[in-house]
Subunit: 320 residues, 3 copies
């Protein structure tokens, strides 16, 4: 059902809400198009006229300077007009419902909504209600999905490791509450890696996590064995007040990525993190800033990948 | 005096502050120019280079995402540079006066101010003090006027009904505090409709309202008889705490537009509302979303109409 | 050391952090380039494609609508993409450090940061940590420097007085806490005026102020004698609660610029103020709005001067 909503009748991308239900071919098409936006000589991104005259609205019900900024820059690089709205969910302006807000913006000839919302399913809900000419991109909904983050992670992995099939990928931290983890697990399995391994304390794992197509470890030192790619998750500090975790210090002792632990993975393993990082909580500063870290590459890659997704959702045919 | 301020020495639009004093010819010119911006084939609005190199500042002392957004989109469609400033009246930045703020922005070569302010006469005050090269557009001032809303309402009516002269138009709700009502009454009378009828409880009508060129009804069922166009007003909920109204529920019973009541108007009557709507307070959801509703058309039309007003105020000669 | 950081190996401007250490030749080059952006016929500024495709981020940790707006307008006149971020220092988003914020934005291919921060040295700190392709412009850091304000002041003086060498310039007010005063003193001395005279109560002067290359007066009437240019400083009202000053009223009596006092300067003296002005505190309204005031010219000139600094920092060769 989800995938039906995301694709048009010709099977082309229409909305981008979740990795679930998207084919390996389509994910690869996104990665290839993103690659084409990067100048091979200087690694920078030029401006393309693909979405000239299109209006894109960033609807951020949750604050996220980083994600909003990359979407704004990506939209500008595609020559679109972009408006960013920060809407505090608590004070929905004048009591208007989400749906009325969307309908009104749609009536202003908005072509695309980029939606960030604290409630799982918000982007999906909006996509169900917009007209056929409008696309919706999920920029993070509750604990459900963060599919553009997953795609920029895949792009970063492919750039570093070329081929997905032999890779063993560890995702470390709060799997239970992480939309990044959920989307990454789906993308990695769709692209066909050898193994996705989640490493977390039991309190931060979903029930029956194995059904998501992952192996499980509760010990970081053991879990990192033979790993090619380490995806660290951000520790949401509010989990600790919720008594799921003892303290920042104890968490770091058990699950923080230190230089010593990093040595337990493959020598050429790369270290990833969706940001913003908590230095000394889930990751040591020396690892975050170290040679194996590709954390800032992820940020750079976010622009090209979001450009690709936006262009494809607006039915721009990459090959044509 | 007002009209002198709005027109230049050749009688062309210079500022757009109020409908009062503007001729039927000038209002019609705005409607015609707005029409020319809409692509007759797909109903969308293209980008025009009419205001390229011009700087427009949206000065919003009152928050209004919808109005600000349509002005921003309209300015971008005219290729202008647009800056939006939200200025809380309570915390006037560093204690600077409104006039000093304006003078400073004017010194930055700003060509146009779009002003929304909680105090009646604010836009007029600004227009009196800017230099001859600067235009001021009133985007709503206190309870005084909301002339661009009135013009998009007129545009919507003309698109649906073609000719103003036979029309009977009802305006329903809080006439007393509504700048939308005031501007609409003036526009409808200037354009020469057959009748403007206000329908409201006595506590929500100005004293001697008949002098505004309207007929009066205190009963919605009676008042809707023979009506071609129904303009519902938003109920400001703070009126109820001020004891002017009993409760939302009682208001809806007496003055809410239900499907049953809508049948008392002409069969092809259209339903309008400036938004945001209070579903179940002044209007039933089924009416707001029903076939006779043109509420979202009003939003769409707001862009073309605001483009026309901005282009004319910058002395763009539509016919040349 | 500062100047090494500001200049590249060829001695061209790379960052613009402070006037200190910049040569007379380089300051003059900025003024000349700014002059070239102003249309000599109508005094307005056209759009230039010099920074097309470049991304500029305004990072404002301190609120300043005026400075931010002129930087935005200047960036747009140079055809750059510009994003403005207001970051409250108190609530650093998600606890991310300043350096991580900068590194992340830099990874998004940002070409230039315009930084306003309440802490002295913030822009300098950022410039030390960005990559070789990124420029940093100081838009005011603590009580340290406000070099673009100083340059627009120099530009305004040169436009009015042509030659710096014979000029006697008074700076009046809170020298102790003023980054504007500090940068102006440096610029005036570098450009070689005949005298810089600071006029202030002892409590508002730095210790050993004479070492900055100024003469000192504690009496406004005496101090204005023979003066060509009067730069009034804004009185920060919080100084009064800090017991450095008696009251607004007493301050105005002693150091407010009145029409009577203005007559004590040269007959063709000009009056400057960085804004926003406190009418009746440091300056009488009739002086601020009078014939000798160039306060609004300063605002206008800010755009051309900031364009020049931004273009030069991006290695645009004015003469080429």
């Amino acid at each position: 059902m989800m995938n039906n909503l995301q694709l048009n009748t010709e099977g082309r991308l229409k909305h981008f809400l979740t990795i679930e239900g998207l084919s390996k071919g389509l994910l690869t098409e996104i990665l290839d198009l993103a690659e084409s936006f990067i100048n091979p000589i200087d690694g920078r991104i030029k401006t393309f006229p693909l979405l000239r005259g299109k209006s894109i609205v960033n609807l951020f019900f949750e604050n996220s300077t980083r994600t909003r900024t990359t979407f704004e820059l990506a939209a500008k690089r595609l020559s679109a007009d972009v408006l960013s709205m920060s809407i505090a969910t608590s004070s929905t302006s004048k009591g208007e419902s989400l749906l009325d807000t969307i309908r009104n913006l749609e009536a202003m000839y908005v072509d695309m909504f980029v939606v960030r919302h604290g409630i799982s399913g918000a982007a999906h809900f909006i996509a169900e209600h917009v007209g056929p000419q409008v696309s919706v991109i999920n920029a993070g909904d509750g604990q459900h999905a963060h599919p553009t983050q997953a795609m920029l992670d895949m792009f970063t992995i492919r750039r570093m490791k070329k081929d997905f099939s032999p890779l063993k990928v560890a995702i470390v931290g709060d799997i239970l509450h992480s939309r990044v983890a959920r989307s990454n697990i789906q993308a990695l399995n769709t692209l066909g890696v050898a193994e996705v391994r989640v490493i977390a304390p039991k309190t931060l794992l979903p029930a029956q996590v194995e059904t998501m197509g992952v192996s499980v470890s509760h010990n970081l030192a053991d879990g990192l064995k033979d790993i090619d790619v380490i995806i660290m998750l951000r520790l949401q500090k509010e989990r600790m007040t919720a008594a799921l975790l003892p303290s920042e210090n104890e968490y770091f002792k058990a699950f923080g990525l230190t230089p010593e632990r990093l040595k337990l993975a493959k020598p050429d393993a790369i270290v990833m993190h969706p940001g913003p990082i908590n230095r000394g909580v889930e990751i040591a500063s020396s690892v975050a800033d170290g040679e194996q870290s590709v954390i800032l590459d992820q940020v750079s890659n976010g622009i090209a990948v979001r450009m690709a997704i936006m262009a494809m959702a607006m039915q721009w045919q990459g090959g044509a």
